[in-house]
């Protein structure tokens, strides 16, 4: 990460380097296209919100970015994704290393069925953090980052399943942060949470982004949330039975002066 930004003003964002360049990306399940011909660039250190009605391919799109799409049977991806100097869709790419660089948060909080601490320690061990002391330190650091430390420091050995929904989601966030990713993919991270937990997680996203300069791509159903946190926004929509990127631009332009009729209708709530 080279540049740091301290505010959301458009001038400081627009001259950022594109980090991820997506060209003519299409994905289909069993020859039935989920989305087609998506082209746009995601700048470094920005929050990009992807919005759109359900079933338009937003989740499928995210899975291309960390190659989770490889694991879905009968799922074909075509097109080009450039991450820095790396061709992300190349079959030769080391997906383990890639997924360490790109963290993912799911809609349904999915901590592993083990202790709170082990949820963080286990992935660290898997990625070769051999020093136990260092691991302990990271556990405290990331739990503090997500505001869980004071809540769970006395029960680190308890099962992660005993946490509330919001706490679980924050643990998942902490678990992802522990691997020091550069990019975070979030698939509706707040939509399974109650409004208060949702607010806490949303604040965290903004705060952590400023602290660690993550590039965040977040799928959300919540337009108000997208408006509050995003620098860039894109609208996916189903046209002729297949998802498409209708419009992509800076958040200001997207929400205040959308070019496309569908975007206008969607943000005014008359469609979608």
């Amino acid at each position: 990460m080279t540049k740091s930004i301290t505010n959301n003003s458009q001038s400081s964002i627009q001259d950022l380097q594109p980090l991820i360049q997506i060209q003519q990306l299409s994905l289909s399940y069993k020859n039935k296209p989920a989305f087609q011909d998506v082209t746009f660039s995601i700048p470094q250190n920005s929050i990009t919100a992807i919005v759109g009605p359900s079933g338009c391919g937003k989740s499928s799109f995210l899975t291309c970015l960390n190659r989770l799409s490889d694991l879905i049977p009968n799922c074909q991806v075509s097109g080009h994704i450039q991450l820095g100097t790396v061709n992300l869709l190349s079959p030769k790419i080391n997906t383990t290393a890639l997924r360490r660089r790109i963290g993912m948060i799911f809609q349904k909080p999915n901590p592993f069925p083990m202790s709170i601490k082990k949820n963080i320690v286990f992935p660290l061990k898997e990625h070769g953090f051999a020093n136990a002391q260092e691991r302990e330190q990271i556990v405290e650091e990331v739990l503090t980052d997500v505001g869980l430390w004071s809540e769970v420091k006395n029960r680190l050995e308890d099962s992660a399943m005993s946490l509330s929904g919001g706490q679980k989601q924050r643990l998942c966030l902490a678990r992802a942060l522990a691997l020091k990713p550069e990019i975070l993919l979030m698939d509706e991270p707040c939509s399974a949470l109650d409004p208060i937990s949702s607010g806490i997680v949303e604040d965290l996203i903004v705060r952590l982004r400023h602290k660690y300069h993550y590039t965040i791509i977040i799928v959300t159903h919540n337009l108000a949330q997208a408006k509050r946190i995003a620098d860039y926004a894109g609208l996916f929509w189903v046209e002729e039975g297949c998802g498409r990127l209708i419009e992509f631009g800076t958040a200001t332009q997207f929400f205040n002066a959308p070019e496309h009729e569908l975007t206008k209708a969607y943000i005014q709530g008359t469609k979608g």
Binding site: L68, L71, R99, F106, N110, F112, M114, H127
Partner: protein, 295 residues
């Protein structure tokens, strides 16, 4: 429940239409009660038939008599308990890791097409009649062991055959247990770049633990109850074995071999061994139930 629409329905018919659900529920309850009653009847029958000898010589005789020689009032079951116990332990010890590994392979490593064929194969293995296993063991396995160490019909042959027979049980139960693991755990692990082996060891196995345990109990039950194949390959000499190459006789084989000509106390003593087997199976069933309740 809607009212009958046509007036031509007889009162009985209309009563039936209105109470269709209750009828079904009572029918099912009745069938369940019959199934339960049959098991209870078998148990009572076993107890009744074994009582004469139990009253005459006492339970102790079955463990402390000089030998199994019922014609001369000597009822030591210990060698056969060893026979059943050792074949059971040996085969469970071999089949459990093999079955679990094969399910892991099927679920997490094999390509889709191979996994499907493999699964069918295991299901087929489960359906082969036990006498066929015994036959195969007698003509292939026993001569092989004989070359290694005579006589061939032995504890080892019994363990090998039983392993083959109970392998499908644990493999299929483990496969089902793995299929129930929430997909989001696996996706979460993949999305963090965790290795397949680490995921299996730290997430899959602990999550599927109770399912796997039930699989072990089921295969144990099958190993204890198996009669025909074991009878064909074990040699059936009543003795406590010194090595895995010694012939042995299991409790089940003992019943099958002697039932035809046993009379009086001898016959009653065979029922005692049947009762013993049934009791072990009941304990296993209760264990399954307890494990099931815990999750």
């Amino acid at each position: 429940m809607s009212k009958p629409k046509t007036l031509s329905q007889s009162p009985l018919q209309s009563w039936f239409t209105r109470h269709k659900d209750q009828c079904l529920v009572w029918l099912l309850r009745g069938l369940a009660a019959i199934a339960g009653a049959i098991i209870l009847l078998i148990l009572i029958f076993l107890i009744k038939e074994s009582l004469p000898v139990l009253q005459e010589v006492g339970i102790k005789a079955f463990f402390q008599d000089r030998a199994w020689n019922p014609v001369e009032q000597s009822y030591n079951l210990v060698p056969m308990i060893w026979g059943t116990g050792l074949t059971m332990f040996g085969s469970v010890l071999l089949a459990t890791p093999l079955g679990i590994l094969s399910a892991i392979f099927c679920h997490y490593y094999a390509p889709q097409s191979i996994a499907i064929i493999y699964r069918r194969l295991i299901e087929l293995l489960a359906g082969i009649p036990s006498v066929v296993y015994g036959f195969w063991g007698l003509v292939v396995l026993v001569p092989m062991i004989n070359r290694l160490h005579p006589p061939g019909t032995s504890l080892l042959a019994g363990i090998c055959i039983l392993t083959l027979m109970i392998l499908p049980t644990i493999a299929l139960v483990a496969d089902a247990a793995f299929a129930e693991i929430p997909q989001e755990y696996l996706l979460g692990a993949k999305a963090m770049g965790l290795s397949a082996s680490g995921t299996i060891w730290h997430i899959v196995i602990p999550t599927a633990k109770s399912g796997l345990l039930i699989g072990v109990i089921l295969e144990t039950g099958r190993a204890i109850g198996e009669t025909m194949a074991v009878l064909m390959v074990c040699g059936n000499v009543v003795q406590t074995p010194d090595s895995i190459f010694d012939p042995i006789r299991t409790l089940t084989a003992n019943i099958a071999l002697e039932m035809a000509y046993a009379l009086g106390n001898h016959r009653s003593a065979l029922f005692v061994s049947g009762l013993l087997l049934l009791m072990i199976i009941i304990v296993l069933a209760i264990a399954t139930e307890l494990i099931d309740q815990e999750v």
